[in-house]
Amino acid sequence: MVQKLEIHKFKVANKMYLLDVNAGSLLKIDQLIWDILDLYNDFSREEIILTLQAKYDKQQIEDGLAELEELIKEGVLLDQKNQSPNEMCSVKGDVIKALCLHIAHDCNLRCSYCFACEGNFGGTAGLMSVETGKAALDFLLAHSGKRHNCEVDFFGGEPLLNFSVLKEIVEYGKRIGHQRGKNIRFTLTTNAILLDQEVQDYLNKEGFSVVLSLDGRKETNDRMRVDKGNNGTYERIVERIVPFVEGRNHTNYYVRGTYTRYNLDFGADVAHLVNLGFKQISVEPVIGSVEQDYALREDDLPKIYAEYERLSQLYLELYDTDKEFSFFHFNINLDQGPCLPRRLVGCGAGYEYVAVTPEGDIYPCHQFVGRKEFRLGSVFTGIENPAIREEFKNANIYTKEGCAECWARYYCSGGCHANAHLFNGSILKPDQLSCSIMKKRLECALAVQGELLERSMRKYN
């Protein structure tokens, strides 16, 4: 063929889709187009017709080819010769706009899969002081350049173990944000055990977004999320968070679960969360090294793939009903997503986004805390190790192994640096298991969004 396309075709729930990788256009296709595309980049028009004539009428094949050629002419599919240049991933400026503030390296739970080693990240347990918290916010605003929106996530361990300090830090942040014309958005990631009425009222009053940890069904949650006495936590969490999310009209929260090798049927956990009344749900694959019995393995992929497909069907089935829910990783906006420069450089860890320990040490993100070789500096003395920051700045889809050729690159943006380092010893070598899960999840997200667009076309046409 004269034209060369960079496309990804995939099936979800027996429906066939085509993504133009560089344009971001999404098409629903039939078996004929699927078969033509198998040959399209490598064979001439005549060869394609000849090859497919055993299965289709010549006229049908010509019609299919004509439709493809029309879409190329219209720019819906991109001939690779005419692509926009995409090499624009040099990170400009020196701006830090988001902090993960570890105000408590201690936890009231002992979840088996915790990457934070029971809250202390392999160090000593400790709580952040008000002084350190204020210094962290000063550091953030001093480095935020012209950014208007800055973010602070209170994280741990369990941040509510240090609630009085949290409140003082927020007060300070509001004051200095106002003085300097900045909007600081506060979020809290909590296990909800200490989420009593006083805390709930405070979070609602201050406009916090919250991430509430619950893994799903009681047996799923209580296998992993236990207290210091090894007791399950399901009831205690549910009785806190159900009224809490209702009290804030189901806005600005995610109920966030983790799935492991023990619940590869995690769609049933999402369904359980939906039945509890939650509307904003995120359930994520566990991160664990292969020797952990709960860690996901290559062999689990067929089950995981099937489960994401089932979940996509549940999502569509409940859409527009009173049980409609948002699943974080299916929220791909096909016409107003992030801009291309953002898609090339990934999450921003290590240069736009950093984590701060209770002592004020700075790390590239919460996942790197405790990996001493990644310590960037301190909120009291600033960045002391700019070489590490440069390393993170330069980690993008063109420098990460395999990303430049991957169809998912503009959605996953190179994946998690911490996973790459954990499994392969380099932030530039993505973890292949994570890649496989990401790609299937993206296919399901694209199919879900495509299906919703098709429904709305039917409604309005």
Binding site: L71, T258, R342, R343, E352
Partner: protein, 47 residues
């Protein structure tokens, strides 16, 4: 005649305004919900 292709979403990534942005006002992707498994493509543009 039944079409073989239905366009569900038009090209977005190569639009000039999309290519030229990069204002940095969007949320840091790992802050919102995931904390382990970020996807940039599901973030929202602030402009």
């Amino acid at each position: 005649m039944e079409k073989h292709i239905k366009v569900l979403a038009k090209p977005e990534l190569n639009k000039t305004n999309n290519v030229a942005k990069g204002c940095g006002e969007c949320q840091a992707s790992c802050q919102s919900a995931c904390k382990t498994s970020c996807t940039v493509g599901n973030q929202v543009c602030e402009k």
